[in-house]
Amino acid sequence: MNRAVVGPACRTDSFFSDDREARKIFSMCGEKLGGRVCPRPRPEKTKVFRQSAVTAFLALLPTAASAHLTNSGLGPAYDGIYHFIFTPEQALPMAALALFAGRRGPAHARAITLLLPSCWVCACLCGIAAPPALAALLAACVVLASGALLASDVVMPPLATGAVCVLSGVLLGALYGTPTDSPAGTLAAAACVFVLLALFASVSLPLRQMPAIIAVRVAGSWTAALGLLLIGWFLHGRVS
C-alpha cells in the first residue's frame, strides 16, 4: 500500500528513517522535495499491467483439463489401470465369470485367467470397437449373461467355458476400447484384468460349504437382475 503523496502533505518521515531507504524502495519514481525523497504514486497503467501479468501467470499454473481421458498424472500405464478400475461395466461381468469358472473347477479357472485377458487385450489393441449406438445394450447383455451363468451354476465342459471366455473377452475388449494413445495403458489394464480374474476365481475355487456357495449364486442372481435393469434403461432411453 503506497501511502506517499507528492506535495506538502508528504509523510515519508513516518515511514523511512533516511533518504537511502526511501530511494531503495522508490528508486524509479521518487523525487526530491526539500532534501527528502517523497515518492509519487506509480502510473495506474503500470500497476494494472503488472497485476494482470501476475494473474495471467497464476492462471496458467493449474493442470490441463482432460476431457474424455482418465488422467492419474502418473503416466499412461496408471491411467489405464485407473480407467479400468473405475469402469464397473467391465469389472462386474468379469468378476461374475471368474466366480463361475472357479465354481466349475481348476481347468475352467485356468481357461478364464489365460483366455479372457488375452482376447480382451487383442480386441483392445486391434481396435475392435462395438457400435456406439449398441454399446450400452451389449454391455448390459454381457452383465446379464455372466450373472445368469453364475446364478444357474450350469455344468459345462472346459471347452465351453473357453468359448465363453473368448467371446466375452472379445466383446468386453471391444466395449472398452483404447482409452489412451499409448498401448501401455491397455497393457496395464490387461494386467489388472488378469489379477481381477485370478483373485475371484481363487475365491470361488475352494468353496465347498453350502452357505458360501449360496452366497456366490445370490451374487450371480443380483448381477443378472442388474443386467436386466440395464437393458430396461437402454430401451427406456430409446423409447423416451
Binding site: S66, P88, R217, W222, G232
Partner: protein, 206 residues
C-alpha cells in the same frame, strides 16, 4: 482517505493478490463430460428402496418368511424377489403398464405379513410364485419412478444391493424362530407387517 481512493480505482492489495494466487493454484482439474448424476447414482439407487415403508416391510417380510420356512426357501425367496423385481423394473422402464401397482404393493405387505403371522408353509414353488408376483409389482413401481439423469449402472447396482440387504435384514431377524419365544415374536412381527400392509391398502384404495 487515500486507501479509499485506491480501492475505488480497483487496485489489488498484496493480500488479495495472495488470495487470488492461492485460489488459482488450488483449482482442481476440469472434468468436462462427466456422465450426469454418476457421482450420486449409486447412493440414489441405494436410497430408493428404503425411501418407502411399504417397500421396506414387504422386502423384510420376504426374509422373515424365508427364515421361518428354512432351507431352501431361506435363500430361494430372496433370490426370486430381486430377479422378478428386475423384470418388473424392466417393464416399468420401457413403459409397459401394470394396473393396480399400489394395491399390489400394499397387498404384498398384507399377505406376506399374514404368512409369517400364521406360519404358513405352502409348497416351495407356491411360495416362490407368490413372492415373485409381488416382486413384479415392486419392481414396476421402481422402474416407473426412476429419476432422470442418473448413471444407469451405478443406480441399478445400489438399488439391487439395497433390496438384497433388506432381505438379509429380514433373514437375520427371522433367525430368532429357533427359540420358542423367538417364534412367537416372529409371528407378532408378521402381524405388525400385515397391519402396516392393511394401512397401505386402505390408503391405496381410498
Amino acid at each position: 482517505m487515500n486507501h479509499r481512493v485506491a480501492r475505488r480505482r480497483g487496485t489489488f492489495s498484496p493480500a488479495s493478490l495472495a488470495a487470488t494466487a492461492a485460489m488459482l493454484t488450488l483449482a482442481p482439474d476440469a472434468l468436462a463430460h462427466v456422465r450426469p448424476g454418476e457421482t450420486i447414482g449409486f447412493l440414489s439407487g441405494l436410497e430408493h428402496p428404503i425411501s418407502g415403508l411399504d417397500h421396506i416391510i414387504a422386502m423384510v417380510s420376504v426374509g422373515l418368511w424365508g427364515a421361518q420356512l428354512g432351507a431352501p426357501a431361506v435363500w430361494l425367496l430372496p433370490v426370486t424377489f430381486p430377479l422378478i423385481m428386475a423384470v418388473g423394473g424392466f417393464f416399468g422402464l420401457i413403459g409397459v403398464p401394470l394396473p393396480g401397482t399400489e394395491i399390489g404393493i400394499a397387498l404384498s405387505g398384507v399377505l406376506l405379513g399374514a404368512a409369517v403371522l400364521l406360519a404358513w408353509r405352502p409348497p416351495l414353488y407356491c411360495a416362490a410364485a407368490l413372492v415373485g408376483m409381488f416382486g413384479l409389482y415392486h419392481g414396476h413401481a421402481h422402474g416407473a419412478e426412476l429419476p432422470p439423469g442418473q448413471s444407469a449402472l451405478l443406480y441399478s447396482l445400489g438399488f439391487i444391493l439395497a433390496t438384497g440387504f433388506l432381505h438379509l435384514t429380514g433373514i437375520t431377524i427371522g433367525l430368532i424362530h429357533r427359540w420358542p419365544w423367538g417364534e412367537k415374536m416372529l409371528r407378532v412381527a408378521g402381524g405388525g407387517v400385515a397391519a402396516c400392509g392393511m394401512y397401505f391398502l386402505w390408503t391405496a384404495i381410498a
